[in-house]
């Protein structure tokens, strides 16, 4: 089993926003989706998922409705707000820029710099 890395600071919010952007979804589904898409590489402590969801909801990036789930039980489904969508875009863009920059640095061959 490969060693799992901790999630870099501040990226949990970004991941949640991305997952919720795909369509209304409840907390458990988000947790599962997170696990699937990260292919068990990143460690997402379930305990910090709900406080993060509530924080995003309080900041007006997410909104939630109570709806019947696939099993017939009522569940809290999160949706992205307009503000949340804008936030997702800016954060995603800045993340990509950062990742690219770090990638560039890492690709510099040792001793190659003149």
């Amino acid at each position: 089993m490969t060693e799992k890395s901790d999630l870099p600071q501040g990226t949990l919010d970004l991941l949640i926003l991305k997952i919720v952007a795909l369509g209304p979804v409840h907390g458990y589904a988000i947790a599962q989706r997170l696990q699937q898409v990260s292919r068990d590489v990143v460690q997402v402590p379930q305990g910090s998922l709900y406080p993060a969801l509530h924080r995003l909801e309080n900041r007006g990036l997410l909104t939630a409705d109570w709806k019947d789930s696939e099993t017939g039980r009522e569940a809290k489904f999160y949706r992205l707000t307009r503000k949340g969508r804008a936030q997702l875009q800016t954060e995603a863009a800045s993340w990509e820029r950062l990742a690219e920059a770090i990638g560039l640095i890492l690709r510099i061959s040792e001793g190659g710099a003149e």
Binding site: G27, P51, N58, A75, K76
Partner: protein
């Protein structure tokens, strides 16, 4: 959801959180079960992976941002529960606090209304007053003087930063319509109302062209006078007669319009007054106020007016040479009330402080017995901050509850307080329990809550939890003993300050009441008298008119004797003149001053003023005879020492006289009254306490002399004097019962002579110490409350301390200590606290005595006897309060006590 919604829908949020997490766990365990894990194990794993539902919930709650409010509410609920559980403690604490905050709130409401609130005009902060300052005695006596009318006109013309207006205090008899009545008159600049920014209730202001000599007489009526005299009818355009002159009413002033603290009856244009004193620059009768123009600053106005003053000084060296003009923000004129109010606020704060100390010691006693509870909570993970906050919340709840009761007490108490104020409290209309006062009360409640909660809160245990938890509560009592005694001692100290102050006031009042006023104040009626305006206009008739008034009054049944006088002792008004014993007079500021009073011959008989030497005036002292004066023994002593003053002369340059060279029409009068001629002293009378029983000893000018009214020269002076004269009547019956008959008898031929400002001499004498009496009553109440609270404090603390010592005392008794010795021990403990308090309190009392001495007229120095009396009272009461706990201690049954441990 907004913060408020999150706070408000707390329960709903909790339910949803529970449901959401429940759903998660259910789904997860269902998933695990599908993989073949036992249901119980699946559920356990699901919980484990979530990280424990309770912890997750806590984190989610933190995210809401409403946590501190919820904690606060929880603490408050807990505090209320604790208060309900201890009704005895709660009642005492609440009553104590309610008394403290209630009294403080009343005093603050009064201070706020009278001293702090701005004047009730729009943009009052831009209003200024203009005064003049010179080297003459008026400036020395009052710190500033009003302004000469021509000086005002010059300022109005030259100032770029100020809109100015003037007002002259005056009075007159309104003979038409209705009953003749003496009215309070203000002669004002046309734009006065505009400058102040107020709109008339009806009609219009004066026009600039009406503010000039010779313009048509117009009048504005004061609102109250309009309602009282005209019944509020529409009288605009009708005419009234004031001092023989017919005016047209053009407006009604707004309701409650007060200028310099008084609501005048009528207003006329100042510019129409052509009296010589007003047109010259040597008299300074005009009150001047102004409003800063848009963009102008106070400093600009000060510089500008100061400069105009300097120019005037150069231009008119003889009248304005030593005179400066100055500008200051216009403030409510409340006179001597200011220091009295601050004094009372200070006294009331002491009461509040005692109340706080009292509650603090009660709370501390509880805190000690709750130490184990707090230690337990600390052991369970509560932070020190959290425990301190809880203690403070509890005391804040107590403070606010006490404050709320206090405010309701204040609501009831404020009106009687204002009514009780001796004389009339200036700006009493401004006193309300408004949001400012409520804010103050809330602040005081919270602050006192914080204050008395601090000591118990800081004792919240944090270290050595183990020791606290293991030890019984009782063994810990010793550590709080010093703090408790400290509380009791400081309460006693504060009470001593109040008690000594009250004692001194009481002593002062006794001393003042027994002072000889210098005259027999019983059965004397005093009233100002306005002669018929027709008579006043013709100076040749004035002397005869006075003669007739006195003659007619003498025949009213019940009148024993009657006299006329210009300034009455112990009433407002005086005339201070410089004098010298040789003809080479020094400059004005070096001349000693004396109170000059002009009287008719019977004055001394009416007032019963004793004659020390020589004679009083007679009907023979007339304009064409030697000018004579009677001095009081104070002046005689001051001017001549032990030498007999009879036959000596005084040079009094400012007496009503007519310099012969200035005689305008060469009449005989001008030849008769030569200002350089001295006055012959024919009699020495006893000193009369002109400034009132309380204030006379401290007065700057105490020397007195009397001169015959018959020697006041006509024409100008006699008229001016006649406008100031009062009659004094010695009666055989109750003085006020003669008012009706006298009024009727003195109406005059044209039915327009009136008596006004009626007093009895008894009343004036009693009013002259009314403030001292009032303060005594209040300080007495404060001191009583302080005494009571201190006794409650002593009782509470001793009961608590002896309660803590039950096992120890039990052991002592078991070992053979007698009940008497146990009692003695408790008393010694109590006496130690009391004496420490008395010692500190005496130091404070000496300072309080100094403040009182500065603030209250007639206060003597601190005297040992009253101080010893009140301290004996205090110690007695305090020991009485210790008696019950002491006796309880002496009756402890050793067996029960030891078994309880």
């Amino acid at each position: 959801m907004s913060w408020w919604q999150r706070l408000w829908h707390r329960q709903q949020m909790e339910d949803q959180l529970e449901k959401e997490l429940g759903f998660h766990i259910e789904k997860h365990s269902a998933e695990l079960m599908r993989r073949g894990i036992e249901p119980e194990e699946a559920r356990r794993l699901a919980r484990l992976e979530l990280g424990g539902p309770e912890q997750v919930k806590e984190h989610c709650r933190d995210v809401r941002g409403t946590r501190w409010v919820e904690d606060l509410l929880q603490d408050a609920r807990y505090a209320l529960r604790m208060l309900r559980k201890n009704p005895g403690f709660t009642t005492v604490a609440l009553l104590t606090l309610a008394l403290g905050t209630g009294a403080t709130t009343v005093m603050f409401a009064v201070v706020d209304g009278v001293l702090l609130k701005p004047l009730p005009f729009p943009e009052a902060s831009r209003l200024v007053g203009v005064n003049s300052r010179s080297n003459e005695w008026n400036t020395k006596a009052f710190g500033k003087e009003n302004v000469a009318y021509p000086d005002l006109l010059d300022c109005e013309r030259d100032s770029r930063s100020l809109d100015l207006a003037g007002a002259l205090f005056n009075g007159g008899t309104m003979s038409e319509p209705g009953e003749p009545e003496y009215v309070d008159l203000r002669e004002i600049s046309a734009d006065l109302f505009t400058v102040l920014g107020v709109k008339l209730a009806h009609g219009r202001e004066f026009l600039p062209k009406e503010d000039r000599p010779g313009a048509g007489p117009v009048m504005i009526l004061g609102y109250s006078f309009w309602e009282r005299h005209f019944g509020g009818r529409d009288v605009i355009g009708t005419s009234v007669v004031l001092d023989e002159k017919r005016y047209t009413v053009v407006g009604i002033a707004p309701p409650k319009f007060e200028l310099y603290g008084q609501e005048a009856d009528v207003y006329t244009p100042l510019g129409q007054n052509t009296a010589a004193f007003l047109l010259g620059r040597s008299a300074h009768p005009v009150h001047v106020l102004g409003r800063l123009r848009a963009g102008a600053t106070l400093a600009q106005a000060q510089g500008e007016i100061g400069l105009i003053g300097k120019h005037l000084a150069e231009q008119f060296a003889d009248t304005n040479g030593h005179r400066d003009l100055e500008v200051e923000p216009l403030r409510p004129d409340v006179g001597e009330v200011r220091s009295t109010l601050w004094l009372l606020l200070g006294a009331v704060s002491l009461v509040l402080l005692i109340a706080c100390v009292n509650v603090a010691s009660l709370l501390l006693a509880r805190a000690v017995s709750r130490e184990r509870e707090l230690a337990m909570r600390a052991a369970l993970g509560a932070s020190r901050y959290r425990l301190v906050r809880q203690c403070l919340t509890e005391s804040a709840v107590l403070g606010i509850a006490g404050g709320a009761i206090g405010v309701s007490l204040a609501l009831v108490g404020i009106e009687p307080f204002v009514k009780l104020w001796p004389g009339s409290l200036p700006r009493a209309d401004e006193i309300h329990l408004d949001w400012r006062v409520l804010g103050f009360a809330l602040g005081v409640s919270l602050l006192s809550g914080f204050f008395f909660g601090l000591a118990p809160a800081l004792r919240a245990p944090f270290r050595e939890l183990e020791r606290v938890l293991r030890a019984g509560t009782r063994t810990l009592a010793g550590s709080s003993r010093r703090l408790h005694s400290g509380f009791v001692s400081s309460e006693i100290a504060l009470a001593v300050v109040l008690l000594v102050s009250a004692g001194m006031l009481g002593r002062t009042l006794v001393r003042l009441s027994s002072l000889d006023p210098g005259l027999n104040v019983h059965n004397i009626l005093v009233a100002r008298m306005a002669l018929s305006p027709a008579v006043l206009a013709d100076s040749g008739r004035i002397a005869a008119a006075w003669e007739a008034v006195l003659d007619r009054a003498r025949h009213v049944p019940g009148v024993q004797s009657i006299a006329a006088v210009d300034t009455v002792p112990m009433r407002e008004g005086n005339n201070q003149l410089g004098y010298w014993t040789t003809p080479d007079l020094p400059e004005k500021s070096k001349q000693p001053l004396a109170l000059a009073t002009s009287v008719t011959p019977d004055y001394f008989k009416v007032m019963d003023i004793p004659l020390r030497e020589g004679r009083f005036f007679t009907d023979e002292d007339q304009l064409n005879t030697q000018r004579v004066i009677v001095v009081d023994d104070f002046l005689a002593q001051q001017a001549f020492g032990h030498k007999n003053a009879i036959g000596e002369r005084l040079w009094i340059p400012d007496m009503p006289c007519v310099q012969s060279k200035l005689g305008p029409n060469g009449t005989t009068v001008s030849a008769l009254i030569d200002c350089t001629e001295p006055y012959l002293i024919v009699g020495v009378a006893g000193h009369v306490r002109h400034w009132g029983l309380a204030s006379d000893d401290q007065a700057d000018v105490r020397a007195q002399f009397y001169y015959p009214f018959a020697q006041v020269p006509a024409p100008f002076y006699l008229r001016r004097w006649s406008e100031l004269m009062s009659i004094v009547v010695r009666t055989n019956v109750a003085p006020l019962s003669l008012l009706g008959p006298l009024r009727h008898e003195l109406r005059g031929a044209s039915n327009d002579q009136v008596l006004y400002e009626v007093h009895t001499m008894d009343e004036l004498a009693s009013e002259s110490i009314a403030l001292q009496r009032f303060l005594l009553v209040l300080f007495g109440i404060f001191a009583g409350v302080a005494l009571l609270l201190s006794c409650i404090g002593i009782y509470g603390v001793l009961a608590y301390l002896t309660g803590q010592r039950v096992p120890e005392i039990g052991v002592r008794i078991a070992l053979g200590a007698s009940p008497a010795s146990v009692m003695r021990q408790v008393f010694v403990q109590s006496l130690a606290m009391i004496l420490t308090g008395v010692g500190c309190g005496l130091t404070g009392a000496v300072m309080a005595a100094r403040v009182l001495g500065h603030t209250v007229n007639g206060m003597g120095p601190i005297e040992p006897l009253p101080v010893m009396l009140v301290i004996a009272l205090l110690i007695g009461a305090a020991l009485l309060a210790s008696f019950v706990p002491a006796r309880r201690a002496s009756r402890i049954d050793p067996m029960t006590a030891l078994r309880a441990e």
